[in-house]
C-alpha cells in the first residue's frame, strides 16, 4: 500500500499496519468532526510518525498512485476540511 504525506512524498507501508493506522485515522476523523485542532495535530503527528517509521520511501523517479493521502503535520482544521470538501479544480491541474 502506498501512502503519501502531502509535501513530503510517498511511502510503501505494509498492509499489516492497517489496523493500527485505521485506529489513528478514526481519532483524526473525530477531531475534525469536533473541530478540535489540538486533537487533530496530536493524531496527525502520531500517524505521520508511524508511516515514516514503518514505511519505505518510494524512489523519486517512480510514478505511483497513492492509496491514502495524509495532510501535512501542521495542517489546520480548515485546511483539512478544505481538502476533503474540494471536489472541483485545485488539487490536480486539469
Amino acid at each position: 500500500m502506498i501512502v503519501r504525506i502531502l509535501s513530503e512524498g510517498q511511502w510503501v507501508v505494509d498492509e499489516d499496519a492497517l489496523p493500527e493506522l485505521n485506529e489513528i485515522d478514526s481519532a483524526l476523523e473525530t477531531a475534525v468532526a469536533n473541530g478540535d485542532q489540538q486533537a487533530l495535530t496530536d493524531a496527525l503527528a502520531t500517524l505521520l510518525e508511524r508511516v515514516r517509521t514503518i514505511g519505505e520511501p518510494v524512489p523519486d523517479d517512480m510514478l505511483a498512485e497513492s492509496d491514502l493521502i495524509l495532510p501535512e503535520g501542521d495542517a489546520s482544521l480548515d485546511e483539512v476540511r478544505a481538502l476533503l470538501a474540494d471536489n472541483s479544480g485545485g488539487l490536480v491541474p486539469d
Binding site: 500500500m1 503519501r4 502531502l6 509535501s7 513530503e8 512524498g9 492497517l18 493506522l21 485505521n22 485515522d25 478514526s26 483524526l28 476523523e29 475534525v32 524512489p59 523519486d60 523517479d61 517512480m62 510514478l63 505511483a64 498512485e65 497513492s66 492509496d67 491514502l68 493521502i69 495524509l70 495532510p71 501535512e72 481538502l83 476533503l84 474540494d86 471536489n87 485545485g90 488539487l91 490536480v92 491541474p93 486539469d94
Partner: protein
Amino acid sequence: MAGFFSRLALIFRSKADKALDRVEDPRQTLDYSYQRQLELLQKVRRGVADVATSRKRVELQAQQMQSEMQKLTLSAQRALEAGREDLAREALTRKSGLQAQLGDLQTQHATLQGEEEKLVRASTRLQAKVDAFRTRKETIKATYSAAEAQTRINEAFTGISEEMGDVGLAIQRAEDKTLQMQARASAVDELLASGALEDATGTYKDDITRELDSLASDAAVENELAAMKSQLAVGSGPAPTPALSSSSSTEASPQPGVAEASQESAQPQAAPQSPEDQ
C-alpha cells in the same frame, strides 16, 4: 484503510480521471501533461527563490534588532558607571522588549527555512518524476497501438497527476505563508523607516543616551570650571603683584594730588604751630 483520508486519495484520482476523459487522443494527453509538468517545475523553483528572499529579509531584520540590543546594553553600562541605576533599568527593560520581538522573528525564520527545504525537496522529487514521465511517454508513444498502451498512459498520467497536485498544494501553502511573513516583515521595515520602532527602541535609547550625554557634559562643565578655578587660585599670586608695585611706585614718585595733599596737611600743621612759636 477505508477511512477518513482515503477520501483524499479518491479526490486526486477522480480529478486525474476527469482530465483524461476530456482528451480524445491519449498521446496528446501525455504531451500536454508534460508541458504542464515543466511549467510546474518552473513555478516550484520560483517558489524556492521567493521563500529564500523572505528568509534573508527576516535575517536582516534580526541583525538590526540585535545591534539595537547591543546599543541598549552599552547604554545600561554607561548609566551604571554614571551611578544612574534608573536609566540602566530603563535601557535593560527596552532591551528585553526587543528580545521578545527577536524571538518572534526567529520563529518566523525557522518556519521559512522549513518551507524552503520542503520546496527544494519537492522540486528534486518532481524533477525526477518528470524525467521518468518523459521516458515513459516516449516509450508509450513509440509503441502505441492498442488498449494496453491506454492503460499505461493512465498509469503514468495518474501517477504524475497526484505528484503535481501535491506540489501544487505545497507551492500554494508556501506562497500563503511567505505572503504572511512578507506582510509582517514590511510592517517591521516601515516601523524602522518611519522611526516608530526607533521610538520604541531608538528614541527610548536616545533619551537614555541624551540623559547620559548631559550627565557627561555636566561633568565636563564642572571639570572645566574646576580647572579654571584652580588656574585662578594659582594666578592669585602674580595678580596682586602689579597692585603692589603700583602702590610702591606711588610712594616712589607721588602723584601730584597726593603730594599736594601731604604738603597741604603739613603746612596747616606747621602753620598753627608757627604762629604759636612766633
